[in-house]
Symmetry: C2
Subunit: 363 residues, 2 copies
């Protein structure tokens, strides 16, 4: 929750009204915010949207990959560019056109393509699926200046293709080794390109690699490596491993989660909820594991029928049941939805002991 | 928020495990809950759903009327049956079949119909649209017993009819005086019927009258009167007026809200939000006035485009803008939605000074 104990950006005295580089532009921040969440930049009252996000939106057919990619990238950024010291801005350096070109295959017409070319009648996978740039600014002599950058490369784990236009869809699974090798190769190329620009020549650039989940997955993919490249460095010298994976509860088939107790706990909660309320059409969860330990869970409950008092009582019941059955000391979010949208939600944050709940209602 | 300071049902020592009337039934409560919110009953692990709610669902074409009716009725119940002293149960006395019959016209086949009969070729409006029963229980010698009841009668403000099957739809506006007179007449009849049953003969019964909004309204109707009938009373002796109305901001045409400053404040907030973010497709609000004073506001913001970082920054910005521009000392709820559903929400409760915010995300 963006609650009481807001942390104010340390360096800025008069943070909500800063003059920027150009004399006529008025730069503001989105306002004080809670611990570990970035403030971001407003130029002349307008938010600077990302130049690459719209492209990713078109290219990515699994919404979870899109969301998990952006959210996970922000988490990696926080390790290097602390929200207490930097202001966030959506990527402004790699243009929309460049994003399209980089995501394309490398051909004569598109020399900037990061995906390999495909000679006639051969099947060569496209590895790169999405690119996201995040900019981090600091105040310098009354001006906000670009002082850091994170670039995420989202890589396919499955390559989807057709042999002819509108033909049947084929799939080719890409091995982890292959994805990692290609991703690291592309990272070097991207870093080299950023160093050829004045604005990004000398700033630290973090590059992170994300393995996208298959299109039919009910949970997004995961970051598996990132590199921190000091100002001026034109090739990646070392990689940090990220050991994070997402699972769906209940698990399908033979899939094994790192800790079976977590799924057993979820099952108990699920049974309790389904026994309580006759109109539930589904109880599922997304579970995130970091280094083999559960680090977050999103429970999604769908009801077929809507009545205010029923949702109200049900939410109250879930508050007790979640506290009792679901794993402790882990941030958990529960949403209750119907065909009319989200009806209520419960939340227990990282360091919170109890769930809070909110029931949505209309007048 | 159903937060920290939970009030525990005063009378119950061992509240989560109470034996009920029948030896084999296990009665539980939904658990401790926050101030001014009812605990409700679970029988053998199952929630007792309302017998009338499903009928209303079918009869009511405006979802806001359904939700506002149930929610508003609960608010009226709280005046007479304090959540600290009573446990809530969905209506169990008026059966589903009876609800159908009562909502029908009074004919030879349906002598219990509360709507008037319609002789051939005459247009006689149906006044009654929905019925909701809420039961209130107290513990007595280790058993939960029915000790109070609230019945809501939802009345049409517009009667919709066709002159032939599948023919064009006609409307007839019903005057406030007409609705009030018919509603009070029906209330007497309903009270009389409840007194003929052993379970409800001697308990206090609150009856409340609701004027439904037209089908195309973007906000629900309002309660305009309620009566408290002591145990045994077979006709209503006095009515309390309820002066509550809901409005949509921005208002349409010549509609006047009780306090123009509230709408001006909303407009400032709306302009700020729309200027900030280029991808907004709408900013509207439902505003509730009680005795001419703003007593609550639900703001609904719809964005066309979804990106996690954008929603995150936008939500942070809204938190500042809402605090600055929207009316103070009034509970306000703001939801930000996209085609993928609710993306974030902000809330400032009755006695809270600041907005809290939550951004939904997936793994």
């Amino acid at each position: 929750m963006l609650a009481a104990s807001a942390i104010v950006l340390a360096a800025c005295g008069n943070q909500n009204k800063m003059s920027s580089n150009s004399g006529s532009t008025k730069t503001e921040l989105t306002g004080t915010n809670s611990n570990n969440n970035y403030q971001s930049v407003i130029q002349d009252g307008h938010y600077q949207t990302s130049k690459s996000a719209g492209v990713n939106q078109q290219q990515t057919s699994n919404q979870f990959n899109l969301e998990g990619f952006q959210h996970g990238l922000l988490d990696i950024s926080k390790k290097e560019f602390s929200p207490n010291k930097y202001v966030f801005q959506e990527g402004q350096q790699i243009s929309t056109e460049q994003t399209y070109n980089w995501l394309g295959r490398k051909t004569k017409q598109n020399p900037e393509g990061l995906n390999p070319d495909q000679p006639d009648k051969k099947i060569v996978p496209e590895y790169l699926q999405q690119i996201d740039e995040q900019d981090f600014l600091q105040q310098n002599g009354g001006k906000l200046q670009l002082k850091g950058m994170t670039i995420g490369l989202g890589l396919n784990s499955v390559y989807y293709y057709t042999k002819e236009k509108y033909g049947a869809q084929y799939t080719k699974n890409l091995s982890d080794d292959e994805i990692e090798a290609k991703g690291k190769e592309m990272a070097n190329e991207v870093l080299k390109r950023m160093r050829q620009r004045a604005a990004t020549k000398d700033i630290p650039i973090v590059i992170a690699l994300y393995k996208a989940a298959p299109d039919d997955s009910l949970v997004g993919g995961n970051f598996f490596a990132y590199s921190v490249n000091r100002g001026g460095a034109t090739s990646v010298s070392s990689w940090n491993k990220v050991n994070q994976r997402n699972y769906v509860f209940p698990t399908a088939g033979n899939e094994k989660v790192p800790n079976a107790n977590d799924e057993a706990a979820f099952e108990q909660f699920k049974n309790k909820a389904q026994s309580y309320f006759p109109n539930l059409s589904g109880v599922t969860a997304q579970a995130q594991y970091t280094d083999g330990t559960l680090t977050g869970m999103h429970v999604n409950i769908v009801t077929q029928f809507y009545s205010y008092t029923e949702i109200n009582s049900f939410t109250q019941y879930l508050q007790t049941a979640a506290q009792k059955y679901l794993p402790h000391n882990v941030p958990i979010e529960i949403t209750v939805g119907s065909t009319n949208g989200v009806q209520s939600y419960l939340n227990r944050g990282q360091d919170e002991k109890k769930f809070t709940a909110h029931v949505f209602n209309n007048y």
